[in-house]
């Protein structure tokens, strides 16, 4: 193994470590990342119950709540992460290290993904038990495949966003805020995205969770979703794979481009912008 590959792998592990260890060291996440989303999810479950929705819709809300954990992680701990790293002085130390920037982002993504999976599982488990939600996965392998591919595409997007956000200062914070409620709406976190109309759903598919959620719902509730499905699962799977490749490629290129631009404009180390 060459020095570069070894350093790449060491960097991934090194950068993933703080995120991974954080789950066990800072237990307060249970309140914020499981209890708090559950409050929101519960409200949506009761809204569905109030209008006489079939019990599967409660499943929509719980699944959406779990996926929100990933989206929040991508927004706040991937996209705007480099802004925080700049503020604390870590970014410049990453950039002067003789390692791949993709390895650092990958480490961040893997660490975040692992930690968030623990959280999302908590939301699903407690939500399903609390509201007695029917969860029957017919095609286990396919379900797992869609889920994993969604995450790869999603964190690919996160890596791309973080390279774009490298240029920004406090605006990164506002942009992340902008991508919350509107994305919950357009990606159909709490209702089938088809309700927005085909073209809106198509545009919203640029965020991988849109397609991932739709496919997962189809696999969980095939009968109900016949009326609401956006695209066939196979098409969504294909699109997710394409998005994953595209985002990872763009992240790689974007990182180089934006780093160079930021270096020219002197924005890599400027704090308190």
């Amino acid at each position: 193994m060459t020095w570069q590959i070894r350093t790449f792998l060491r960097t991934v592990v090194g950068r993933a470590y703080p995120r991974f260890i954080g789950v066990w060291r800072e237990k307060s996440w249970v309140i914020f990342d499981v209890f708090f989303p559950l409050l929101q999810v519960s409200a949506y479950v009761y809204i569905y119950r109030a209008i006489g929705a079939p019990p599967e819709f409660a499943g929509f809300a719980v699944l959406g709540g779990a996926m929100i954990a990933y989206w929040m992680n991508v927004l706040w701990s991937m996209a705007s992460q480099l802004y925080w790293e700049k503020e604390t002085g870590n970014l410049q130390l990453y950039l002067i290290a003789p390692t791949s920037r993709m390895a650092i982002l990958l480490g961040m993504a893997l660490g975040g993904l692992t930690a968030t999976t623990v959280r999302a599982a908590g939301v699903i488990l407690v939500g399903a038990l609390l509201f007695r939600i029917p969860l029957r996965v017919g095609h286990g392998a396919l379900f797992l495949g869609v889920f994993l591919l969604t995450l790869v595409a999603l964190y690919g997007l996160g890596m791309l966003l973080s390279s774009v956000f490298l240029l920004w200062g406090r605006e990164a914070w506002h942009l992340s805020n902008l991508f919350m409620e509107p994305v919950y709406l357009f990606s159909g976190f709490y209702f089938p995205v088809r309700a927005l109309g085909f073209w809106v759903a198509l545009v919203a598919s640029v965020i991988p969770i849109t397609l991932g959620l739709d496919a997962l719902r189809q696999l969980l509730y095939p009968q109900l979703m016949e009326r609401f499905r956006f695209l066939p699962v196979e098409a969504e799977l294909g699109a997710l794979a394409a998005l994953a490749v595209l985002f990872l490629f763009l992240a790689h290129r974007g990182l180089r481009f934006f780093e160079e631009l930021a270096r020219r404009e002197g924005r890599l180390t400027l704090r308190g912008q």
């Binding site: 307060s28 009761y46 919350m180």
Partner: protein, 281 residues
Amino acid sequence: MRRLREAWQGFKAGAWLGWQIESNWTEPFLFAIYSVIKPVAGVLILVFMYLVVAQGGLENPLFPQVFLGTTFYLYVVNVLSGISWSVHDDREHYGMLKYVYMAPLHLYGYLLGRGAAKTLVATISVLITLAFGMAFLRVRLSLGSPGLLAAALMLGLAALAFYGILLAGVSLLIARHGWMVGDVVAGGLYLLCGAAFPLALLPAPFRALGLGLPPTYWLEALRRALLGAGLHPELAALSDAQLLLILAGSTLLGVALSAGLFRAAERIAVRRGLLDMQTMY
């Protein structure tokens, strides 16, 4: 007399500073994000949930009630949670809390001032969302009881500010997790106060809890004032005057509780050195 003057000084300083921090309409991008896009998107999620499932879609009789509850709930998020966030923000991000505390003004009054600024900012979001509902979602609001509306708004907003200070006291004491207190409480209240669905759907103990919380009565009074009817059958037996009386009572309770408990929290925070604690959030 001096204490009153200090409280007024604090209120003015808090309101001015809060306004400087919160008022963002000089920057159209920020104004669009926080006062238009986020609140309207939140309401639209409900809209599509109704369109997908509810009989009659937006014509479902529940929809205007849910719309109104969710829209006015923006005040709860902004004012109640916002005040406790100010404590966290001033302490962690700006490192200013200790200086505010040392200045010859009243921290309580200062936070009330921050709450006043947040109320003003939230009012813009609420008005925009209401206008959006009337223009695009066929929500018909009527000003049947302007007196009820004015009284409910005034009492309810005052109560939110005082309970916000109570929460700020809690934030003072749990420095490490202060940032999440507001969000967790706001999320919990949205569920328990029947902002978006009838309380009857909640399990009995939670329903009872909901009936003990002031925002439940506040939202019900606003619904009666603007839609002509309330949402919760449990409260149907109460007259408008009784609703207002409960609100007034809970506001007074808020004043007493916040004054007493916040002072206690302040004393404990000084003793434990929490006023200038930086936790590397």
